[in-house]
């Protein structure tokens, strides 16, 4: 009989200078150099985005996919605070941290891509802001959500800084911010999908549907759990800690439940609209569609049974599969399945500079995650030996 002792969060400790952080540092430096060129000379000097593909990986990957992968905080908060699964509480802080970084950097990623970034405040300013625009709603919700997350995460800093009184006062109102922290992602993650709607027939019918907000919302929730699986395994392996199997196991079942709902909605929608035929057109688009959906279906084969769910390797792979599926859904809708009606002659493939900036942004997330988990109370205290 194992006791349900939930360990309090504590800093992992250990040196901040190791292979991982140094590599991250180098990648970030490269990114900074590229961004300097971008801001002085213009987007065209470093990126391959063009008149046919105006949104490249900086928008689709850094912002859209980056924020989707940051849904761990949202999914776990939903579970813990709305569906009252308090046993998952230890997952909240690390998931929230990953979310915090993911969303903050998705927001920062926007600046890298905006052509007239000095006017960015217009999106929030009455007189400029256009509430009918889907992007307006996404921007406002994401910004609000980032603020909410910093507030939700502040107990961590307050603990480390020993400000118990402030923390107590904050805790009184935390429930409201938590509620916001569940509502806001529901709004903007679904709207990230709705952004496709105005593009009309330019988006392949496999991904263009009025049900797109629901599809993006469900995948956002599912990706959130997948990311938690992924990060738990990676963090445990990197910090040489035990994996909280007793949490991940049931969590993955919930994930499968939501995934099942998603797949029903997704394929139901495709069948109703008669769009599945597109998936049989030979070409990269169809191939990408099938890979995306195989990735979404794979977890049922990987962790469909109780025994399988006990195997952290399978949990890890299932998490990767979900992430891959979610990434591809977005990539397909906005890039691979996007093209002008009459067969636009434009091609787009990210430039090395674009790739390095994207990598740099993710490196900031990784580096930030490492620094904060090592120095601030985020991960549950481990009774076992802590590796340096």
């Amino acid at each position: 009989m194992t006791t349900h002792q939930q360990a309090a969060p504590a800093p992992v400790g250990g040196s901040l200078v190791n292979a991982a952080t140094v590599v991250c540092g180098v990648l970030i430096a490269i990114m900074a150099a590229i961004l300097l060129v971008r801001f002085i000379f213009g987007l065209g000097t470093v990126a391959n985005i063009n008149d046919g593909y105006s949104w490249g990986i900086w928008v689709v990957v850094d912002v859209m996919i980056g924020s989707a992968l940051a849904c761990g905080g949202f999914s776990v908060a939903l579970l813990v605070y709305i569906f009252n699964k308090g046993e998952y509480h230890p997952l909240v802080r690390p998931a929230l941290l990953a979310s915090l970084f993911g969303y903050t950097l998705a927001g920062a990623g926007i600046f890298v891509d905006l052509g007239r970034w000095w006017n960015f405040w217009h999106i929030f300013w009455p007189g400029y802001a256009n509430p009918s625009s889907v992007m307006f709603e996404v921007a406002v919700c994401v910004t609000a959500y980032v603020l909410v997350m910093w507030i939700e995460f502040s107990p961590v800093f307050l603990e480390k800084l020993g400000k118990r009184d402030v923390k107590k006062k904050l805790n009184k109102w935390l429930f409201f911010f938590i509620a916001l922290g569940v509502l806001l992602p529901m709004m903007h993650q679904s709207s990230l999908g709705t952004m496709l709607v105005v593009m009309g027939g330019q988006v392949n019918p496999l991904w263009q549907t009025p049900a797109v907000p629901l599809i993006y919302l469900l995948t956002a929730i599912v990706i959130g759990y997948g990311v938690v699986l992924f990060e738990s395994c990676v963090a445990a392996a990197s910090y040489r800690r035990t994996i909280e199997m007793r949490l991940l196991n049931p969590l993955s079942k919930i994930m499968l439940g939501v995934l099942a709902v998603y797949l029903v909605v997704r394929f139901g929608d495709l069948l109703i609209r008669g769009a599945l035929g597109e998936a049989l057109n030979p070409g990269w688009v169809a191939i990408s569609f099938w890979i995306e959906n195989i990735a979404f279906v794979a977890p049922f084969f990987l962790i469909g049974t109780v025994a399988a769910r006990r195997n952290p390797a399978r949990l890890f792979l299932a998490g990767i599969a979900i992430m891959l599926g979610g990434i591809l859904l977005r990539l397909n809708g906005f890039l691979i399945g996007y093209g002008h009606f009459t067969g636009s002659g434009w091609t787009y493939f990210p430039s090395l500079a674009e790739v390095m900036v994207t990598v740099g942004i993710f490196a900031i997330e990784v580096l930030g995650y490492i620094i904060i988990t090592r120095r601030f109370p985020v991960l549950p205290r481990e009774n076992a030996q802590v590796a340096s």
Binding site: A8, K85, D113, E159, T194
Partner: protein, 331 residues
């Protein structure tokens, strides 16, 4: 397990609610807009166009745009498509031997490409900062670089691929035809229409242009008729000429609710770069979804209220350091 079933029920219920809202009841639906009564626009008749490109030159001059080079010599302004610096271009349809003008098979034809000034513009709906606006009277879709953030949502949203960004500049703007609205105060009208020698590009009220377009397609091919030049209502520069083999379709009459730039062609529109669009605009579709879900912020506030209530109940035990909570619903 009970909890799982409960959870699934919740998700399904939530999903159903969202789906129901997405397939909105009529009261939430945002109707596709139509052209304003005094909308200004152009009528481009591909059968009259001789490909002289005076309109391309005039547009460049009227808008102070630099040349774009696509040949090694860099001797001529040779844009391959509209761009942040080219707001109007003549493209050529080619087929087979290219013997006959305006023949779909073994022929060639010209197609002017510039902003269609839609009745329900996708770019206006997409723009988060109102940099793209539609004038309520003239219906001209205007661009304000002072408001623009350079997000390029308008670029990806436009079904005609018209707004384009200036990637080569750190302070790049979007560039597109604005019907020469900056020239109206000097008594001018669209430069392309002003210089067109054959009246292939005609300026005027869209309502008048639509009537003229319908008049033309009703004529017998090969017969002779009078073609106006410049603008409708301007000094009479009309001339007599043979009627072409028009398709029985005025492009822009109904597409996405209608456009203020109308086109006539003898070659299938899809083959000359004009996409097949339904009468319901994608802007209407997108805004219907948004209004249904967020109209008046009703649903968000209600959901927030419910979530706050639940969260308050579940969170109030969480304030001690150890994090041990009295978990409800546990064994």
């Amino acid at each position: 397990m009970d909890s799982r079933r409960l959870f699934l029920k919740g998700v399904v219920a939530g999903g159903a609610a969202i789906t129901a809202a997405a397939v909105a009841p009529p009261s939430y639906a945002r109707e596709t807009h139509s052209r304003p009564a005094e909308a200004l626009g152009l009528l481009y008749d591909a059968t009259l166009c001789i490909g002289c490109k005076a309109c391309v030159v005039a547009c460049k001059e009227a808008n102070n745009n630099p040349p774009e080079f696509s040949t090694e010599d860099r001797l001529w302004d040779t844009p391959l498509d509209t761009s942040g610096y080219t707001f109007n271009i003549i493209k050529m349809y080619r087929n087979g031997t290219m013997e006959t003008k305006d023949a779909e098979v073994n022929g060639f034809a010209f197609m002017k490409t510039s902003c269609m000034h839609c009745a329900d513009p996708s770019c206006v709906s997409a723009c988060p900062v109102s940099a793209m606006t539609k004038d309520p009277v003239t219906g001209i879709v205007a661009y304000d670089p002072g408001a623009c953030v350079g997000c390029r949502y308008c670029v990806v949203a436009c079904p005609f691929g018209i707004p384009k960004y200036q990637y080569d500049s750190p302070t790049g703007k979007i560039g597109k035809c604005e019907l020469c609205r900056h020239r109206y105060q000097d008594g001018h009208y669209s430069a392309c229409a002003e210089v067109c020698p054959t009246g292939a590009t005609l300026h005027g009220r869209s309502a008048d242009l639509l009537l003229e377009a319908k008049r033309r397609i009703a004529l017998k091919p090969g017969s002779v008729t009078r073609y106006p030049r410049g603008k409708i209502g301007g000094p009479d520069q009309s001339y007599e000429g043979p009627v072409g083999n028009y398709l029985q379709h005025v492009y822009g009459e109904k597409e996405y609710g209608g456009t203020q730039v109308l086109k006539l062609s003898a070659v299938t529109f899809a083959k000359v770069g004009m996409p097949d669009l339904p009468p319901k605009s994608s802007a209407a579709m997108s805004e219907t979804i948004q209004h249904s879900l967020y109209g008046g912020l009703v649903m968000p506030v209600v959901v927030l209220g419910a979530l706050s209530f639940i969260a308050k109940r579940n969170v109030h035990d969480e304030d001690d350091e150890s994090g041990t909570g009295k978990d409800k619903g546990e064994k």
